[in-house]
Each structure stands twice: as structure tokens, then as C-alpha cells.
Symmetry: C2
């Protein structure tokens, strides 16, 4: 149950539905841009790691950093690609939404007419009620003031006419109200269905977004684990051994 302007509220909400789809696409696009910038910076950082001094015992550790940082960059770039796919899906849904809304606008044109009818009949009914009241009061006044029979009769005719008009509008109002209520109930249900479908679709998109982010987050975790393992395997003994092999000039005493 809504007032007679409930139709407007519901109809506009349908438009807001399309707006929220566009907002969601914008949000995901902005997130993708952030991830892309992060990925680019990580690639740059990986290059820095390979530019650090390749002299001394610590040098091989930079390879471990480089590999891990490159993999982080790659994870975030993967996220970017998947977000871009998702944006395409959101746009596709947005286009479907516009088509569905145009169709709904045609479907509910009967209801809009019923809304306009009930609004105009309500005004007309109010006017005829006021007119009827005025005519009755006038007739009573003439009777009380002892006006001529001709004047009283004339007022009676006017009063009768106002009564008939009022009755007619009451009947018309009843008919329009019944039509309005029936159509409005149908339309309200239709709008509710559209709204539920819209929210369902939006929630599906967000779930897809969450899953993507969660998967990439898991992959990033694996890169971290791998880095920790690689560092554990890069023992102090192995680093000194590698250095002695590259710089050492022999195992014999001079």
C-alpha cells in the first residue's frame, strides 16, 4: 500500500537501479586502476632488485626478491584482467536493464492512466461535494428566510442537479478506485519483482568480485610462502660457498 504518488516513487527507483549498476561498474574500474598501478610499481621494484649490487655474499638473495616481487606484480595484473572481465559483465547487465525498463514503461502505461484518472476524479469528486453542500445550505437558507416558492424551487432544482453530479462522481470514483487498486497492486508487484531481480543480479556481481579478490589474495599468500621457503633454503653456508666458488682462486695453499 502506497499513496497515489507511490507509482512515481517506484518508477523512479527503477531508474536508480540502472544508476547503481553504472556506479558499481565505476567502482570496479577504479579498483582495477589501483591494482594496475600497484602491479606496475611492483614490476619496477623487481627491476630495482636486479639492479642492486651483484658483488658480495648477499648478491644471490636479490634474485629471490626479484622473483617474488615479479610474481606479486603478476598476481595483481591477473586481478586487473579479471576485474576488466567483470566490468564487461556489469555493462552487459546495464544494457539489459535499459531494455527491460523500456518494456516495463510500456507495460505500466495502463497503470499510469489509472493513476491520472484517480487523481483527476478525486479532485472532481471534492469539487462536486463542495458544490452539493453549498447548494443544500442555500436551499435551507432560502426556506428559513421564507423566500418565494419560485426561489426555493429553483434552489431545489440546483440542489438536485448537484446531488446527481455528486452521486455520478462517487460512482465513477468507486469504479476508478477499483481499477486503480487492481492495476496498482499488479504494478507494485511488477516493480518489486524487477527490484528483487536487480538486487539479486547486483549481489551476484559482487559475489563474483569477492571471489576474484579472495582467489588473488590466496595466490599472493602462496607467493609469500614461497619467498619464505626460498629464504630458508638460501642458507648462510650456501651463500659463502657460492662466493668462495666465484671469487676463490683455488683450494691449494699458495
Amino acid at each position: 500500500g502506497e499513496r497515489n504518488n507511490g507509482f512515481d516513487v517506484l518508477y523512479h527507483n527503477m531508474k536508480h537501479g540502472h544508476l547503481s549498476t553504472k556506479d558499481l561498474a565505476d567502482f570496479i574500474r577504479e579498483r582495477a586502476a589501483i591494482e594496475e598501478a600497484y602491479s606496475r610499481s611492483m614490476t619496477k621494484l623487481a627491476k630495482s632488485a636486479s639492479n642492486y649490487t651483484q658483488l658480495g655474499t648477499f648478491a644471490p638473495v636479490w634474485d629471490v626478491f626479484k622473483t617474488s616481487t615479479e610474481k606479486l606484480a603478476s598476481c595483481h595484473l591477473d586481478l586487473v584482467r579479471r576485474l576488466q572481465e567483470l566490468i564487461k559483465e556489469v555493462h552487459k547487465y546495464g544494457d539489459e536493464q535499459i531494455k527491460a525498463y523500456k518494456k516495463t514503461k510500456e507495460d505500466v502505461s495502463g497503470t499510469l492512466e489509472a493513476v491520472q484518472n484517480i487523481q483527476s476524479i478525486t479532485q472532481a469528486l471534492q469539487k462536486s461535494k463542495e458544490n452539493y453542500n453549498a447548494k443544500c445550505v442555500e436551499q435551507e437558507r432560502l426556506k428559513k428566510e421564507g423566500a418565494t416558492q419560485r426561489e426555493v424551487d429553483k434552489a431545489a432544482v440546483k440542489s438536485k442537479k448537484a446531488t446527481d453530479t455528486y452521486k455520478l462522481y462517487v460512482e465513477k470514483y468507486a469504479a476508478f478506485k477499483s481499477d486503480f487498486e487492481q492495476k496498482m497492486t499488479e504494478t507494485a508487484q511488477k516493480f518489486q519483482d524487477i527490484e528483487e531481480m536487480h538486487l539479486l543480479r547486483m549481489k551476484e556481481i559482487i559475489e563474483s568480485l569477492s571471489n576474484t579478490i579472495k582467489e588473488i589474495h590466496f595466490q599472493i599468500g602462496e607467493v609469500h610462502e614461497e619467498f619464505i621457503n626460498n629464504m630458508t633454503n638460501t642458507t648462510i653456508e650456501s651463500l659463502i660457498q657460492k662466493f668462495a666458488e666465484s671469487k676463490g682462486t683455488g683450494k691449494e695453499r699458495p
Copy 2:
């Protein structure tokens, strides 16, 4: 065992140790800058979320996005703070390293001297050996060619002198070699200890870095879980209910 230039290799590697400490500080600083930029972008994205349309049934979902995005920004800012603490630690270690290296330079000055001694005595020994050979050959030549007794005696004196000098250098070389081998063994051990301590300290710093990144990664995972839970709790029914309450004009039929 190293050749006589092994001292240089080991001594320079100690300097490379300090260079790698500076590189590691640079690497962490660059990573911190990347995380800071990411955090700032996320804060901006959270603001975008609150600027999206507040009309329609979807509007409350933006609050869920906003909260989650703000928390992501906060996680990455936390990472920045902890990386900055770590950079301070690396710098502190770098300063300690310089002091330790200066002390080591004094400690090994005796070895450097022994290295220089062995290098100069080797050259002198070579020269006196050549001189001794030349003098012997000269003495033999004069004898064969039937030179005067005076000439042969003169050559014998020269040969005797060259032999004595050569013998002296052989003895000196043996003494220097023993001194060099003893000092070089000690110093090589000292350099190895320094190198091991350096790599141990570097590995500790990297472990601290890994742990920090791992903890923040875990916190980010929790933010994702919270977002998923919040979205599950934001049911279609509750969104439509909220919308009806804010826009609806009553539950009574008109």
C-alpha cells in the same frame, strides 16, 4: 687457501656487505612507498563509494563497500608504518657495520703488512736468484776462457756475495711466509666470521619483513571475509524493507 690477492677480495667483500645493507634499506623504502600510494588510492576509492547515488534500494550496499575499502586502506597504511620501523632498524645496523669495519681495518693492519712483505720479498728473492745465477755463469765462463787469476778471483768474490744475498732472501722469505700464512689464516677466519654475522643479521631483517607482510596479508584476508559476511547479511529482503520504510508513505491502503 687464497692467493696473495685473496686479502683484497675478502677486504672488499666486507665493503660490499655494507652496500647490500643500504640496498636492502632502499628496497624496503621503495616497497613502503608503493604501499603508501596504494593505501591513499584505497582511501580515495572509499570516498567514491560514499559519493555514489544514495537513492534506490542498492544505496545501503555502498556503506558496506566504503567500510571494507577504508579498512583495506588502513591495513596497507599499517604495513607502511611497520616497514618504516624496519628501515630504521636496517639503518641502525648499517651504522654498526661501519664501526665494526673500521675496527676490523685496524685489527687486520698487521696482516696487510705481512701481505706487502711477502709480495716484496718474493720480488727481491726472484731478483737475487737471477743475480746469483748470472754471477755463477760469469765465473764459469771466465774459467773456461782462461782468464787471468785476478779476474777469476774477482768473479768468485762477486759470486760468493750473490750466493750470500740469495741465501739471506731465502731465509727471509721462509720467515715472512710463515708469518703471512699464520696471519692470513687468522684474518680469513675473522672475515668469514664477519661475513657470517652479516648474512645472519640480513636474514633476520628479511625474516622480520616477511613476518610483517604475512601478518598484514592475514589482516587483509579478514577484511575480505568481513565484507563477504556483511554482503550475506545485506539480504534482498532487508534492502527492500529499508527502502519501503524510507520512501513508503504508510502501510494502509489509500
